[in-house]
Amino acid sequence: MTRPRLANHARGGVLRRKRLNRGPVPRPSQHGGTADRHVVGARRSFLLDSACGLGGIALASLFAEDGLFAADPDPMLPRDPHFAPTAKSVIFLFQSGGPSQLDLFDHKPSMRRWDGQALPPTLAGDLELAFIQPDSKIWASPRQFHRYGDSGTAFSDLLPHTARRADDICVVRSMTTNQINHHTGQLMMACGTPFVGHPSMGAWALYGLGSESRDLPGFVVLNSGSGADAGSGIWSSGFLPSSYQGVPFRSKGDPVLHLSNPPGYTTESQRARLDVLRDLNEMHRSLSGDPEVDARIASYELAFRMQMAAPELLDFSGESRATVEAYGLEEEATGAFGRNCLLARRLVERGVRFVQLVHGSWDHHAELEKGIEKETLATDKPAGALIADLEQRGLLDSTLVVWGGEFGRTPMVEDRTPSREASRGRDHHRLAFSMWLAGGGIRAGQSVGETDDFGLRVTEAPVAVNDLQATILHCLGLDHTRLTFRHQGRDFRLTDVSGRVVRQLLV
């Protein structure tokens, strides 16, 4: 069966990378993988770049003879990375709302002595805070911390299952971001800038690499809890072609919109519909000479394959009892996130490039103790199970798993209604927070970075959001400075104008 060829408007960039890979220098030129969704611009810069890179006009005419300008390549066709990758897929466990690192990962026993006292003004400086004042009282974490595994990485008692995988993961305690509000912070984490309209990490990954899956979308989004403040912004294709957008799987009804045949249609009659469509479209193709018709026919075939593949994907009956229990599929607390974690593994197994789980909300301004218990109860067990499961199946080596939210929370208490019991919470905090990574080229069994005695500021090995993104792309074999897209006259990239690969995180 021939590979489907879908039309799109980024053929300049996609085309170039594909062609150059065949040539002697498999390397995007001057602008990196610059492309333009707008065909003409793309083609011109394409010729411009490749003419320079590969020896001028002769090559351009070679392409023309190839008939390459006549038809569009499949935007999902797997493409070679810039260099050898350590991960083929990414599972990003997006914890929206800003989990409190001080109650989960960043153990600060020294805070106990300061508990209930105002943050010293020298430390407060010009802190940017959403709700509270910089001189608010310090609140030492009420949680118990222990060290786990050979690595002795510290976790609080809220994360027993994650802690058990201590030697498989790498905790980064020195994350920083530049946003203190949810929507912009989530855009920053997912898209590399706080502005709307930019492509998300998954979209960039697909644009750079295509997808290995022939039957499923290359970028899948799985929601649980209250979702993310930034909504579809965090799986947007932004200014990239819309084919690269994340496809949200729904937990009710069809996982992919309109995947089921309408009432009254069996697989057989659906197949018959596709056959007659193909025949009529081909007749039209021969009259109009339009190669786009081929792309449309191929898109129907892929749709049909998705219809066939989805029931198998969602059918967990082949999973062992142990797996069902490990993910907590049948428990009320863990059911939703557990199902998404298991689905993520099954998607990655089938070659899907980027799976983004979105779970919320960790935005515990008030009643943090109650709230964080609820969220960790819902997510810790499935997340631990996911790591174990991937490892057992030999998938962890090729799958990068990332856990984290858009920012952290303050060491100071936020108490909106002191008269209410257990009303204490923490405000947004951008100067220091924690995330963890596992698999796919990450040096496991370590924690990276340090914060001061209050967990207020990073004192060692700061990792900015763009740095994390550069590192994730690096694991996928992509150079974040070369994965670019021409939009409104400028080359854009996931990491905007900054970002560096954090070698310390890598094997």
């Binding site: 411009l48 351009a60 509270i132 919109l257 309408p262 193709r285 129907y300 947004h428 006259g489």
Partner: protein, 849 residues
């Protein structure tokens, strides 16, 4: 290697040569931008701190009070570089008070000095401005002479002369004219977004309605305004919710859309259309409609997230408005210049804030904007409503509760009163975010408030505050069922007529001064700037510095851009690609026009016609160029793959909304009412879960509303309507000057299985049965004519018949198997629905050919 190709080839070579010549540091691209952005603010034309000027070679070499700045050949030894690296104990690196230059930039400057600090002489080192002056788009368009062509008989208007002259030069002949029915379908879809009726197709084919008459009919159709509005809404980033976090809806955003449709249908001239939207509120004696027009600016996103700095949000919206106006009317992307001088275009940060200043002094104003017939019943029943509301509020002791709330939040807003819980400050901030002018009202003593202020505040208090988690009901009021109060109030409001509102802007009563914001940061005001046009363009008149002056300037004959940008956009609608393929970018990085003379001719013609939009559409769609066949010509496929030479029409997949509209139209179920409120059609179960929390609601429309055009589908920004999103409708959060036309499997699933299209195929099948009679071949023929505006070929009819018979067999067998007892009649209608569905899925159906 002919046609379009040589352009690309020669450019490639030129770039190669340039690259070879300048192996080292390039002053223009690498050094000059650093000097301009980081140094010249203090060492430039206006200011010479320390006596140093870094905006021309002489000044730079001479240096200032500290000595010679640049010693060619000694990069790191030169004072300039030493100052850039000055240690903290000696006063810190230049530039002072901001981030130091990156080591990469410093290294570049040092290498440049090592190379002898070459500084091409051109005025004050501003080679850029010369290039700018020469940039084609910044020169006023002049009507060019119409060229001679090989075949004058083909020429219907000067458009054709320009196009044919270019084809002549390439030795290509144009395509023959498309068949009358194809042409009718094309122009109907382009002008109204709807396929032609069966009768119209008959009339086109038998010659009872000429093409020109059909064009007049379509231009006069109210659906023309709808279709043109769809394009304009893309530009205007029209949305009906805030776009951030909880994504609050804007229940009256549709009122601005209503104005757009109506204006376009009345063929309001484009200069009027422009002035009203930019500054309708400032026109002396402005009408309500003129103020409604300024709703263009209210389409900006808004972040009401708790804790988000309010001034930052205001600045963000002002920046966004500035960028939107520059892109939509000037074809310039100026957003970059908010933080730094635009790298590739002559828009400096100063220019950006010069434009920004026009909008910085505007404030938002929600006004009553009743549609015809609203006012009388409203006024008649208002006293009764007010009586009943007062009674309701009394019963639930709302005045007391509201006073309690107001007193506390007001106290919390000024200073923390001992014992006052922080929640009150949060409630104050919420009011600030959620009710425009709300905090102003609370600050005003009750006796001095207008009735409208008081009404809005009370309504807000009842809807958003009482009974909520954050509002602790005070002692003594616990027995009140505040949930019931909310319900009763809602019911009361709904049972009385209300006035339609509109979101507009108005001059701010306390206009702030405008400063350049250093690195675009609202907390870092820099130099003061005055409202002004960008330097590269002609200035406004002396002393003219308000929005109205800007609006008039935009559509003045001196502005070289607005008419070109507008005609290019209309051209794009009719050919798929603009004469300038980057409609949002007419700057130095944008595409050059494929037919520069034609673009200028059209721009001048458009202005001289009095900016007559319908005349422009007529001019284009009646040209021979437009009427060509769209069939792909194999030889040209490699010669001119993008059809920029226009040796044929383009084949364009229909826009998302038009696909919906066309399906509903052929099915006979389209509701054709024009304008008015938005609809929320069928949304699959679970679709709202991608929104945040449970904030986004989608109360499904009922009755005929479900079948209104796609233009009216509610634009919830964080929950784009799936069918529209799947077919590349823009995201509504930023200006969109053109749409993608992708081909994806999700589109196939939507057309095959989306209940909206399934229902349309059932209705279509029913219509075929009703209108074509019992004969299978008649029904197939009518289906083709309605869907594709042509008869089926023998082969097509046979194939569809075979499919129909198969469906009858399959469905019949199933009914026997399952014992469902479905009758033969139902089996046949099921099979017909499948046939109709196939027609709606054909490439040709979703393509304008």
């Amino acid at each position: 290697m002919r046609a379009a190709r040589p352009i690309a080839g020669s450019l490639g070579l030129a770039a190669c040569l340039a690259g070879a010549q300048e192996r080292g540091v390039d002053f223009r691209t690498e050094i000059e931008p650093i000097l301009r952005q980081r140094c010249q603010g203090c060492h430039g034309e206006e200011l010479q701190s320390g006596g140093l000027r870094l905006d021309n070679p002489a000044g730079a070499r001479k240096g200032g009070q500290s000595g010679i700045a640049i010693e060619p050949g000694d990069g790191f030894g030169s004072l300039l570089v030493r100052m850039l690296r000055r240690p903290a104990q000696q006063g810190g690196p230049m530039p002072l008070g901001t981030d130091p230059l990156s080591s990469e930039s410093i290294r570049l400057i040092a290498s440049w000095i090592d190379q002898g600090a070459p500084w091409p002489e051109s005025g004050k080192g501003d080679g850029g401005s010369q290039r700018v002056a020469e940039h084609w788009a910044f020169k006023r368009p002049v009507r060019p002479p119409v060229p001679a062509v090989s075949d004058p008989g083909w020429v219907r208007s000067p458009i054709d002369s320009f196009v044919l002259a270019r084809l002549d030069a390439e030795g290509i002949s144009p395509s023959p004219e498309a068949g009358s029915a194809t042409l009718l379908r094309r122009v109907s879809l382009d002008l109204t977004g709807l396929p032609p009726s069966a009768e119209a197709i008959d009339m086109a084919e038998n010659g009872t309605e000429t093409y020109e008459r059909a064009v007049e009919r379509l231009l006069a159709s109210p659906h023309h305004g709808e279709m043109q509005a769809l394009h304009w809404l893309d530009q205007a980033r029209f949305g009906e919710s805030d776009g951030y976090q909880a994504d609050y809806i804007r229940p009256f955003a549709w009122r601005w859309r209503h104005w757009v449709i109506d204006s376009l249908n009345r063929n309001v001239s484009f200069d009027r259309f422009t002035i009203d939207q930019i500054a309708g509120d400032l026109i002396p004696g402005s009408t309500v409609e003129q103020r409604v027009a300024t709703g263009f600016h209210r389409n900006a996103l808004q972040n009401r997230e708790g804790g988000f700095p309010i001034e930052m949000d205001r600045v963000e919206r002002t920046v966004e408005r500035t960028s939107a106006v520059a892109t939509v009317w000037l074809g310039l992307t100026v957003g970059c210049a908010r933080c730094h001088d635009h790298k590739f275009d002559p828009i400096s940060q100063h220019d950006f804030f010069g434009l920004y200043a026009f909008f910085n002094v505007a404030t938002e104003a929600d006004i009553d904007a009743p549609l015809a017939g609203e006012l009388e019943p409203y006024l008649r029943r208002r006293p009764e409503f007010e009586r009943r509301r007062a009674e309701l509020f009394r019963r639930y002791r709302v005045p007391e509760l509201q006073a309690y709330w107001e007193e506390r939040i007001l106290a919390a807003s000024t200073d923390s009163r001992p014992g006052l819980e922080p929640i009150w400050k949060i409630l104050w901030d919420l009011l600030l975010f959620e009710l425009d002018g709300g905090t102003e009202t609370v600050r005003t003593p009750v006796a001095q408030r207008t009735a409208k202020q008081q009404d809005r505040l009370s309504a807000y208090f009842v809807r958003n505050v009482v009974g909520g988690y954050d509002f602790q009901t005070p002692a003594g009021y616990e027995e009140l069922d505040l949930g019931e109060l909310k319900r009763e109030f809602k019911a009361l409001e709904q049972s009385y007529p209300a006035l339609t509102q509109a979101y507009t802007i108005a001059a701010s009563p306390r206009p702030p001064q405008t400063h350049i914001l250093i690195r675009g940061d609202y907390r870092r005001p820099g130099r003061l700037v005055q409202a002004a046009a960008p330097q590269a363009l002609p200035p406004l008149g002396m002393g003219e510095n308000d929005r109205l002056a800007l609006a008039r300037w935009l559509v003045s004959p001196e502005n070289p851009l607005a008419a070109r940008v507008a005609v290019n956009r209309i051209w794009q609608q009719h050919f798929g690609t603009g004469l300038v393929a980057t409609p949002e970018d007419f700057g130095t990085r944008g595409e050059r026009p494929s037919h520069p003379e034609l673009l200028d001719w059209l721009a001048v013609e458009f202005m001289e016609s009095g900016w007559d939009l319908k005349a422009l559409h007529r001019l284009i769609v009646t040209s021979s160029t437009y009427r060509q066949k769209s069939d792909v010509r194999p030889r040209l496929a490699s010669l001119d793959p993008d059809n920029r030479l226009l040796a044929r029409q383009s084949r364009l997949r229909l826009p998302a909304e038009t696909i919906r509209d066309a399906a509903l139209a052929v099915a006979g179920s389209l509701d054709r009412r024009i304008g008015g409120e938005s609809i929320r059609p069928y949304l699959p179960e679970g679709a709202t879960e991608i929104g945040f929390g449970n904030f986004v609601q989608w109360p499904q429309s009922v009755g005929a509303d479900r079948y209104r055009r796609g233009l009216y589908i509610f634009r919830q920004r964080t929950l784009p309507y799936p069918q529209l999103e799947t077919f590349d409708a823009p995201d509504t959060v930023q200006v969109a000057c053109r749409r993608d036309r992708s081909t994806t499997p999700l589109q196939a699933l939507a057309l095959l299985n989306d209940p909206v299209f399934v229902e349309a195929s059932e209705a279509f099948a029913e219509r075929l049965a009703n209108e074509a009679g019992p004969a299978v071949s008649d029904r197939i023929r009518l289906g083709f004519r309605l869907g594709l505006a042509r008869d089926p070929t023998r082969a097509e009819a046979d194939r569809l018949l075979r499919f129909y018979n198969l469906q009858v067999r399959v469905l019949g067998a199933e009914s026997v198997e399952s014992g469902s007892g479905i009758g033969a009649e139902q089996v046949r209608s099921g099979a017909w629905s499948a046939v109709a569905s196939v027609l709606l899925n054909l490439v040709e159906f979703i393509t304008r050919t």
